[in-house]
């Protein structure tokens, strides 16, 4: 009796294992249109509506189980997203810095091309410090005499004239900005060629004055102001002609009866300079004739 039971049990086991292996072999041996595949397709068409109905009916159950799992998973997911967010923020910051630097360098290149300043051997320098005052009258750059920088050389950047070199060391230099009260440069309007002198408006950072403009001069709001270059052989200018300085903001009557006071907004943003170009081979001779604008 016992032997019969054992034999039956073993026979059932071996039979089922063998049947499974036969099914497996047959499944892989037949083509996609074979019998077992057809059975699967038939079962799919029969079971699909049942499973769909069960799927909808059991959604609350699934949601209940899912809620517990999701709560645990959400914490890990949140931590991962926080890390990812930090990495992306760092990347965005880095790219914004690079974009800002690119913009500044592009403005320098554009001004150099526009005013034909490449012939003055511009040396691009990074601004390493800025006077922390309201007027931002001086900046320090990372290029000095070893790069050809010398006293008095004009400095451009940010889309226009920035200032001039006022002190030089071996590998650094200081630049006095055009907003400094001691700064002045011969200038003219670009279109009507009205001459004058650019000086800063004391107490009004970001505002320049085109001085010594006669009442009869034709100066309109929005007109561009550029450096005039050398206007008299006796007093040669260090600044080549045609460097953009700014745009006319408004025109007022001057201190004298015959003068007008032209307020100019600087083309360069003095508070946000990262790169500037020092024109290291300026000539003070007959540059007026070479004015390009």
């Amino acid at each position: 009796m016992y032997d019969r039971t054992v034999r039956r049990r073993r026979a059932v086991l071996l039979g089922l294992v063998a049947l499974s292996l036969i099914l497996l072999t047959a499944y892989f041996g037949e083509s996609a249109g074979g019998g077992l595949h057809s059975v699967q397709r038939g079962a799919l068409s029969v079971l699909a509506p049942v499973q769909e109905g069960a799927n909808r009916a059991l959604k609350p159950v699934r949601d209940l189980f899912g809620w517990a799992g999701d709560t645990v998973d959400a914490k890990q997911e949140r931590d991962d997203l926080v890390k990812r967010n930090r990495a992306l923020e760092a990347l965005v910051n880095s790219q914004q810095v690079e974009l800002s630097q690119y913009d500044q360098i592009k403005k320098i290149v554009d001004v150099n091309a526009q005013a034909n300043l490449d012939r003055f051997a511009p040396v691009t320098a990074r601004v390493i410090s800025q006077t922390p005052s309201l007027f931002y009258s001086e900046i320090k750059i990372d290029k000095g005499s070893s790069a050809g920088v010398a006293l008095g050389q004009p400095v451009t950047g940010g889309g226009g004239l920035v200032g001039r070199v006022s002190r030089v060391a071996g590998n650094a230099a200081a630049v006095t900005l055009i907003t400094d009260e001691e700064f002045a440069v011969a200038a003219r309007t670009l279109k009507t060629k009205v001459p004058g002198t650019i000086r800063p408006e004391v107490g009004a950072p970001g505002d320049l004055i085109l001085d010594f403009v006669s009442q009869r001069s034709d100066v309109d709001r929005g007109e561009r102001i550029v450096t005039a270059g050398t206007t008299s052989p006796r007093l040669p200018s260090l600044f080549p002609p045609g460097i953009p300085i700014g745009k006319v903001r408004r025109v007022e009557d001057g201190a004298g009866d015959l003068d007008r006071e032209v307020h100019v907004r600087p083309a360069a943003d003095m508070s946000n300079l990262q790169f500037v170009a020092v024109l290291t081979e300026t000539q003070t001779g007959d540059l007026t004739a070479a004015a390009t604008p």
């Binding site: 499974s20 769909e52 799927n55 799992g69």
Partner: protein, 188 residues
């Protein structure tokens, strides 16, 4: 244990409903990244309650149904579940375990055999998938989750099959203790 048409009907219903429930609802629940698979627990519980022959037959039928319904290679799951059901049934026949945590141990082993066996057979039949730590982690998570779920699943299966089962081992042990001893095989 007598195999009756009513028992077969209940087992077929248990298998069919279980597969639909598993595929429609349970398999879409993930815990720690691993989908929940209760069917090894059901097969193990049937084997533990009904013996090796019924366990193996139920495992074969349920595995075949899973393979057909899930469009998997026919024969893989049935082969694994045959072994799971047979093993659980043999444990009952040889040891007649009465401890309350036996379903947990059976559930853990059944899940381990099912998941690891399925992975091994899948690799053997040529499914090109990398063996990674992720797979090991998923198997371990499934084993842990199923171990925790084994007792309620066992209780549900026992409730479904209870009219056709011999006495529960624990109840039989209690009665043997109070009556001075009855053979565990006296009713089977």
């Amino acid at each position: 244990m007598t195999i009756t048409p009513a028992l077969i009907g209940r087992l077929v219903a248990l298998g069919a409903i279980g597969v639909i429930f598993q595929t429609a609802a349970i398999s879409q629940v993930t815990i720690f990244g691993a989908p929940v698979d209760l069917f090894p627990l059901v097969v193990g519980a049937v084997g533990l309650l009904s013996g090796s022959i019924i366990g193996a037959c139920f495992g074969f039928g349920a595995g075949l149904f899973v393979d057909v319904a899930m469009l998997q290679a026919v024969g893989v799951t049935s082969l694994i579940y045959v072994l799971v059901g047979y093993g659980a049934g043999r444990l009952r026949e040889l040891r007649d375990p009465a401890h309350g945590l036996t379903p947990m141990a059976v559930g853990a082993v059944a899940t381990l055999v099912a998941t690891a066996g399925f992975a091994i057979l899948t690799f053997m039949i040529g499914v090109d998938a990398p063996v990674s730590l992720l797979l090991v982690r998923q198997i371990l998570v499934t084993v842990v989750v199923n171990t925790l779920l084994a007792v309620p699943v066992y209780a549900a299966v026992r409730r479904i099959l209870s009219p056709f089962l011999p006495d529960d081992p624990r109840r039989r042990r209690r009665r043997a203790y109070t009556t001075g001893g009855l053979s565990p095989l006296s009713r089977s």
